[in-house]
Structure formats: structure tokens, C-alpha cells
Symmetry: C2
Subunit: 335 residues, 2 copies
């Protein structure tokens, strides 16, 4: 089942079911007003949502319309929590080079994870506002899972059953600010502006065998201004999503709709390229003694699409965004 | 104006206005369903809420009832963001001792701040569940502000006008986990379970001159099992709340209801005691070469009350909580 969120005058938007060919959608408000509400009572809404999806395939759904990913908000415009791991160890090792720092203690046995803001996610085609090019604007291509309610201290053997949806993410990052925040030990805050999501969140069955061992065996294609930067596989996660969920839930409940991220998709095989510019620059530092690739400028366009190992497009749709200069709005008009 | 949240079957509870003597309250649902909704349209709801508060004082409010802080949820059971600073430099310096680490770079010129989970706050009298005493269970007495919508990159000169409410906080911490998370650079996640709040959120005018220079000139009394541990003043913040808000908003919008914390209240004058056990232990390390005060055990009771400089009780009410062993609940019953 493929789900998306259209904008209206509410914070959470409204829920739509998307057809397999992604050309049509059906208004799902008769089942649940929005995706966050659906996740809170998933056991009650899953069957009627699947029935609606079946009707849509048979061209028998009421309130069906042409699906336009440009009209989509993030599947969850706000989420209870956004906890982003760093499960691709190759990424972590290259980032140590990028930030000129020693390795993170126990990085290969204890997941590394930061708490992100989750109140203002961006849709797949929204312009992405930044204050200054000097902040080191970068993208990070990732995968993520959306869970329902997870009790405190649920172990990794039991967390997998709480995975309700899979999502594709661009975790925008500001490298010039992140270097300082890493050194404070308090983690990323200014370095992590609003995160963006591909338009369609999918149930695990949509991926078939590409969802196995708690990982996505899919290739995340990333383009900058039309040039392919990376096509790394999601299967190289050192920690599975169930392990990342258990890490996040160790001392707290996760309420339904919480999103757990993989961290930047990154492979040991350098020929596949990178899912962020900081990695490209780290490899340049290793190979040439200095970084050559600049960070992003206003007007740059970043596109991401996950594909199956055989090259077929995945079900998430594409992220296709332009970096823009933030406009100072009058106080009270934000949000 | 004094506002609180009573529990019902919704996530956000429902809004009540509390009388000045804190013995009575009035159901405010005729104005706004809950505090989060009220903050989103503060300019429309403030006047009718103040009118209701006036009626309550004159014993003329409909739907008035005896106020019971034990029935209160956190004023905001969930918030869009929870960004907690560390604005009392004395605390930071002692924590460096506690965690046996070098000072944070630029700690006296750039605010230090972490992103906390904001989906599952605890009320002032709720038991506080933890998995293990070995995690180093500790309290942190703090003050905080609640803002309305703040645009990206709003400067500190302009953020003060977005302060709508002041709150009193216990930022529960797990020190054994925090030491590792600090070293990763990715910040606190497992080390910061659900945060607790005193029952009453107040508009700045309730504090009179005690709210000035963007700081609270109030003394936070903290007791462990009835023994006073600390009575430190809020006025020693090295960064004001407007400066902390500007730090949080540097690269992102803050949506209405976002909470910005002061960090642990801490004074250079050691005779006033401490607002967390880690500080007590750090001072013991400095004075005696080793920590003597243990972290918390199941059954320990932590009480906090903010008072004005002249000793009068502040308007927030008290936090009075007991540390308990977390029960493993069946998956799906959390939340």
C-alpha cells in the first residue's frame, strides 16, 4: 500500500492512497483524517485503507483523482519524534575525515543516533530555504521507517513488528555549523534544518524481497543539477532498522508516527559514489589532499530516487528540490 | 494568567485557567480546545482567556471547579520542539568534571543546546519510569519559555516578543548513558527520557519584576526525599532566553508551542546547593577526590518549587514525583 499526504489548512494535511502506477490517488479521509491519526490506530485502519487501495486499482474508488506528487507534503508533515541513526559505517569513517576528528567511540558496536526536529518537515518538491551559503549546505540521502507505539526498552527482536511504513529522506545538513556542534558533544541542532521526504510512504510488502534483514536492498540515486553523484545500496547498514528502533526506545516510549532514519546511505565500494557532498569532499581530501567539490549554492537542484537492484523505480516517488535563500518573514507569519 | 492542562482521551488534554490562589480552575474549551491550539492562535485567544481568568477571580466563571494539580498533565503534553540550552556556565564547568572531559569549545560565547524528544512529556505528579538504576538516574531543575511561531533567523533583539509562557521543568537525565553520548558528538538521546513539567504555565506578567533581562530572578528549590539539595537562582544565565531562542531559530522555523529550556539552574555560590546530583557529585570529586552522593534509586521522591527572591511561592506549582521501575508493557499498549 502506498500512502501520501496532500495539503489543506491543517497541520497534518489529509491522507490519500496512491495507485500502483502512481498516476491516481483516492481521498482516504473516510478512513482516517491524516497519516498521523492512521498510525495511532493502525490495526483498525489498515484493512479499510487496503480495501480503498484495491478499489483504486480496479478504478472503482470514490473520490479518485490524478496523483500529483508536486502537491504532496511530507507523508508526515510533523512526527512525534525523528531519530536519525548513522548505520552506514563507511559514511561515519569518511565524516571523521571531513570533520578532521577521531573515530566515534564504539561506533561499530553501539548505534550512533541524533534527535532531530520533527515539527516542520518539507515535501518532495518544496523549495528548501537556507540563511547563508557559508553554512556549508549539503544533502544526505537516507532511508527510514515509521513505527507505531513502541514500549520503553523493547528489544531488537521485537521492534521489527512495529515497522508500519518505509520512507525515503533527504536529511539536509549544514556542515560549517555541524563541525562545532559535534565538538560540543550536545549534537546537531543548527546543523540540521527541516528534513525532506519523498512523497510516498509504503508498507513493507510493497518492497517484496528488497525489504529483508531489517534493511532495504535498494539503490538510492542522487543527482546534483542533473549529474549523478551517487547510487549506493541500502543493504550495507551495520545496524538493522529493528536495532536502531531498539536503540531509540531503550529509555523512552516511541509514540506512533515516530520516524527512525538510517543515516546517509554509503557503501565501501567507492565506485558507486556518495549520497552527500561531505563524503565526496572527504574522498577528495584522502586522494588529493584537499576538497574540490563545493557545498551547495542557492539555485542548485537536488534530486533523489530509490530504485530496486534490477533498476526498476522504487515506490517512494522522487525528491526534486531547489536550494533557495531564506526570506525573512514578519514575526507571526512563519508556520 | 495561569494555564494548566487536564487529561482527557486526547493527546493534548484540555485547557483550564487557574485562579491566582490556585484553588480553583475554569474549563477553557469554549476558547481553545487545548494549550497547543491556543498558542497557534494566541493573538485571538489571549483576550478571551484573560476575561475567563478575571471571571474566575470574581467567582463568576461558568464551569469552575476545585483545582487539583495531581490531575494535571504537563501544560503541553506534546510540543513541536523541545530545545534545551545549557545557559548556566557554572553547571557546564561542573559537568565537565562529572564527565571527566575538557571544556566545550566556545561555551561562553556560543550557547550549547540539545534537541530533546517532545512527544511524551510527564505531568508534575506522575511517577517517572526508568529501566535500570545502573543508568545513573538524575534530575535537572530548569526554567523554560514557550514561544509562538518564530521565523528562521530571527535575531535575539526580536525573539523576546515571542515568549508567551514561562514553565518550570525537571529534565530527567541518565548520566551513565550521557557520558557515552557526549563522546559521540551526536548528543543526548538515550540519556534524556521523558521530561517533566510543573502543572502551571504562566504569562510573563505573572512574574512582575522577577522576569527581566530575559531571565527569571527566582530561586528553584529542589528536594530529594524531603532534604533540600539546592536553592539556586535563575538570574545567573550567561545567555538570556531571547538569545537561546535566536540560537534555536538560526536555521529553522520554530512552530508555536516550541519550548526552550535554560539548562540546569546553577550558581557560582556553592552555598546555595545544586539542581542536579551530577553537580553535587562533581563538587565532591573536587573537594574529596571522589563522589559520595549516589544517583537515584527506585522509590526516591524528587520535589521542586520555584520561589520569588523574597521567599513567596512562585506561580508554577510544584513538581513532586517518584522514581519507579519501568514495567514492560505489551507492544501496542504504550502511548
Amino acid at each position: 500500500m502506498r500512502l501520501a499526504t496532500y495539503g489543506d489548512d491543517s497541520i497534518d494535511g489529509f491522507l490519500v492512497v496512491v495507485s500502483q502506477d502512481q498516476t491516481r490517488a483516492a481521498d482516504a479521509r473516510s478512513v482516517a483524517p491524516n497519516l498521523l491519526a492512521a498510525l495511532r490506530r493502525w490495526s483498525q485502519v489498515e484493512a479499510p485503507l487496503r480495501a480503498l487501495a484495491d478499489d483504486l486499482e480496479k478504478d472503482g474508488a470514490d473520490h479518485a483523482f490524478a496523483f500529483d506528487p508536486k502537491r504532496c507534503l511530507a507523508p508526515l508533515p510533523r512526527a512525534p519524534q525523528w531519530c536519525d541513526g548513522s548505520a552506514f559505517l563507511n559514511h561515519g569513517l569518511l565524516m571523521d575525515v571531513a570533520f578532521n576528528k577521531p573515530p566515534i567511540p564504539d561506533f561499530d558496536t553501539i548505534p550512533v543516533m541524533y534527535q532531530g526536529a520533527s515539527d516542520d518537515f518539507l515535501g518532495s518538491h518544496a523549495d528548501v530555504p537556507f540563511v547563508s551559503e557559508a553554512d556549508g549546505i549539503d544533502f544526505e540521502g537516507e532511508f527510514g521507517v515509521v513505527v507505531d507505539d513502541v514500549s520503553m526498552a523493547t528489544c531488537a527482536e521485537d521492534t521489527g513488528k512495529h515497522v508500519r511504513l518505509l520512507v525515503q529522506i533527504n536529511d539536509w545538513s549544514l556542515r560549517a555549523l555541524g563541525a562545532h556542534e559535534l565538538r560540543t558533544g550536545f549534537g546537531f541542532l543548527q546543523a540540521k534544518p527541516s528534513t525532506s521526504f519523498a512523497p510516498i510512504a509504503v508498507t513493507p510488502d510493497e518492497l517484496g524481497d528488497a525489504w529483508r534483514d531489517g534493511r532495504l536492498d535498494m539503490v538510492l540515486h542522487v543527482w546534483l543539477n542533473g549529474q549523478l553523484v551517487g547510487a549506493a545500496s541500502g543493504r550495507e547498514m551495520a545496524f538493522s532498522f529493528p536495532e536502531l528502533i531498539a536503540h531509540a526506545a531503550r529509555t523512552r516510549r516511541l509514540t506512533a508516527g515516530t520516524i527512525i532514519g538510517s543515516g546517509t546511505v554509503s557503501n565501501a565500494d567507492r565506485s558507486v559514489g556518495s549520497s552527500c557532498l561531505a563524503e565526496v569532499r572527504a574522498i577528495e581530501m584522502i586522494d588529493h589532499g584537499a576538497a574540490r567539490m563545493p557545498f551547495l549554492k542557492f539555485g542548485d537542484r537536488v534530486t533523489m530516487q530509490a530504485r530496486f537492484a534490477d533498476g526498476r523505480a522504487g515506490p517512494f516517488g522522487s525528491i526534486d528540490q531547489t536550494v533557495v535563500r531564506a526570506e525573512r518573514r514578519a514575526p507571526g507569519t512563519a508556520g
